[in-house]
Amino acid sequence: MNGMNVPFIGEVPSDIVVSWIVTILLGAALFWWLTTRRKWPLVWDYMTTTDNRKIGTMYILLSMVFFIRGGIDAMFIRTQLAIPENDFWVFQSQKYNEVFTTHGTVMIFFVSMPLLIGLMNIAVPLQLGANDLAFPYLNAISFWLFVAGGVIFNMAFFFNAAPNAGWTSYAPLATDTFTTGPNNNYYIFGLQVSGLGTIFTAINMIVTIFRLRAPGMKMTRMPLFSWATLITSFLIMIAFPVLTIALLLLMFDRIYGTSFFLGEYGDPVYWQHLFWIFGHPEVYILILPAFGIFSDVISTFSRKRVYGYTSMVVAIALIGLLGFMVWAHHMFTVGLGALANSIFAITTMLIAVPTGIKVFNWLFTMRKGVVRITTPMLFSLGFIPTFVIGGVTGVMLAVAAADYQYHDSYFVVAHFHYTMIGGTILGAFAGIYYWYPKMTGKMLDEKLGKWHFWLFIIGFHLTFMPQHFAGLNGMPRRVYTYTWEDGVFLLNFVSTIGAFLMGASMLFVAWNLYKTHRLTDPVGADPWDGRTLEWTVGSPAPEHPFQPVPQINSIDAYWYSKVERKRLPESEEARPSPIAIQTVAPVLLAGVLIVMSVGFIYGWVWMQIIGGIAALGFFIYRVFNDERKAVYRKEEES
């Protein structure tokens, strides 16, 4: 069998040895660069900050690092699958399983989520006229928990213990009966720690949106990205705790010998329910903020108010609500019975209606507008047809009986990449190009941005369109090879070419970053001729930018003030101002949680105890060191 031929260097597969060497070299280069350029004070400033712009920027930066990691995994997958009966490097059998598991998990939890959360951090307070998120300290904690989760999850590979049960980690395969070793413990703790950070972010966003809107900015005047953030945050508050519980139960099965998902009293199908009650809302958590970005971008570059504002908001809310009623469409083949399958088929089809409403509203926003094709707009325009293709295959998958054919085949792989790349990733790129001035004070190069877009979108369709047909020709997902007789060679070959085009497109991003920061001058507050409040403050957005706070009298207030050639009126009303501090506590907490998690992953009790006590210590420390107390006391006295 193939598994026996893994080329070992000593005890460890060669790909891991290579990654050790590369990491050490890159680390040394980075260290050298930071030192000679005297960047350490800047690094320290970012590490200890609670400012929403800086935290958002760090979210995006780190997501891009993970995007490279997940992308390299994708290239390995596609190279192994390029031709039939291939034996590329070490990527067969369990090694292949590790690669698609990390690819999927990293892309969802450590790329898509933090990209969106980063953009929320940067744009939402600015769109609302708020000076920061409601709880800046908590925000720093959220970010460093994400870092900790990302470190834990990515560490696995370096210690030759990458998770290998798929991003869905189905029981009983993921229980210790069938996958021994620390591998899937890494999955559990990586997601557990970063998931906690995500929940805190949701709380933060909800409170910010309810409490810190500028005077006159009624809910019904909020930009759609802020609306999407609000509804997404509610979805997170409901869905993520379910994941927390599922992971906890799986952890007990793996570490303490319980049998929730196996054996006489347990049932593997419980895991599927729990996972998808989290998992389906999760895909809407990933798409709704992207919808928000597209709405704002399309409206800005059509020089027109978004069409059907009210129905847009209602549609987001409906999608969010229906999103909780469809989870079993991932389980049509489990044998839940005809009634359950029919109900979940119909609820799933229903989601297409509000989604369709949104698509038509975007189209009609462009109608009778003046459509300017900038890079963010280009990504938004690419999104519409791409996402609609992913949407219609979604409806096809909802046909429960037909899903008996599609399920777990490459048809599904094609479908979810059309929605997740076509929606979330294109949305994140649109958002990054659009708000880049607010992050850094500079504008990314438009020409290189367009190169990036065209290569990416062409590569994307080349990669994933053929996969529909591979699925229909009987190719299951999560297989590391196929035969000549399977008749899927050409489809896979084209797919691999497309994947490398997508990879190449990212080189233009690197070049663009270099060029922008080396060769261009800072831009002003409003480089895109924008409509919403973020374009009234400087680029990059300063800390506590709204002093005094503007008075808002309509939707897109800034735009109408420009049209009428007036300044936005200032408001006398005060808003609670979040308190910024410099603190290393969140970083240290992240370190402590990494230590504790590693203790659990390898079953080292002493390490669990040390980590646990230290983590508890942080709560006590925080109780006695709340920076807000002094401020409130002063306020009371005056």
Binding site: S93, S311, T333, G335, V388, A401
Partner: protein
């Protein structure tokens, strides 16, 4: 040219036009294929409408010349338009939902129907999936591994279970998938209509060699089947 490559192109040409899922060889697979075509047709309709509007609006309203600096007037939403793109999709989905529910009931009662008692003349095959092979047991106790032999034009009912993790039983030409769970029995039935050899696969990721967990399905004449099943 390499013989293998040549034979590949022949096969690619043949199967390229008739993908297995769309080339049904049983009653069950037939129903599924029809559903797939129906949903595909309706969805193409939607796709075309969106694409046409997209291209048209983009070409017509792209900024050019002096119009660049125009500020288009705000427009009030048109109620009729909004109603149209809410109601029409609902109708289209209703058209799709009816056959969906019908097929789901028809096929699923075959999948997990009440103890299988009703189908008096169905042949029963017990299936056990385990990492990474399939065991088939026929009515007379004969067993085969990774090779499933069936008589043509005879309804067959499978009773499936797993010895370890979850697997999924899939013969694209003959029927959709049914999961194979440890400690539980699931069912599936269909009636193959054409003799031939069809690929069978495990569709649920089940561990290191999930890829290799395949089997071959041979559908043969009733007579040949009788001979085969009686063979020691």
């Amino acid at each position: 040219m390499n013989k293998r490559v040549l034979s590949f192109f022949v096969i690619a040409f043949l199967t390229g036009c008739q993908m297995r899922v769309l080339n049904p060889k049983s009653d069950t697979a037939d129903t599924l294929t029809n559903l797939i075509y129906l949903s595909f047709g309706i969805m193409m309709l939607v796709l075309i409408v969106v694409f046409v509007l997209f291209v048209y609006f983009l070409r017509k309203f792209r900024e050019r010349g002096k119009a660049k600096f125009n500020i288009p007037p705000d427009e009030k939403e048109n109620k009729w338009l909004e109603i149209t793109w809410t109601i029409v999709p609902v109708l289209l989905l209703a058209i799709l939902a009816v056959p969906t529910v019908k097929a789901t009931y028809d096929l699923t009662s075959k999948v997990s129907g009440s103890a299988g008692g009703s189908k008096g003349d169905a042949m029963i095959v017990e299936v056990v999936g385990q990492q990474y092979n399939w065991k088939f047991t026929y009515e007379n106790g004969k067993e085969s591994y990774d090779e499933l032999v069936l008589p043509v034009d005879q309804e067959v009912q499978f009773r499936l279970t797993s010895n370890d993790v979850i697997h999924s039983f899939w013969i694209p030409n003959l029927s959709g998938k049914i999961d194979v769970l440890p400690g539980e029995m699931t069912k599936l039935s269909f009636e193959p209509r054409e003799e031939g050899t069809y690929q069978g696969k495990c569709a649920e990721f089940c561990g290191a060699e999930h890829t290799l967990m395949r089997f071959e399905t041979k559908v043969m004449s009733q007579q040949s089947f009788e001979n085969w099943v009686q063979e020691e």
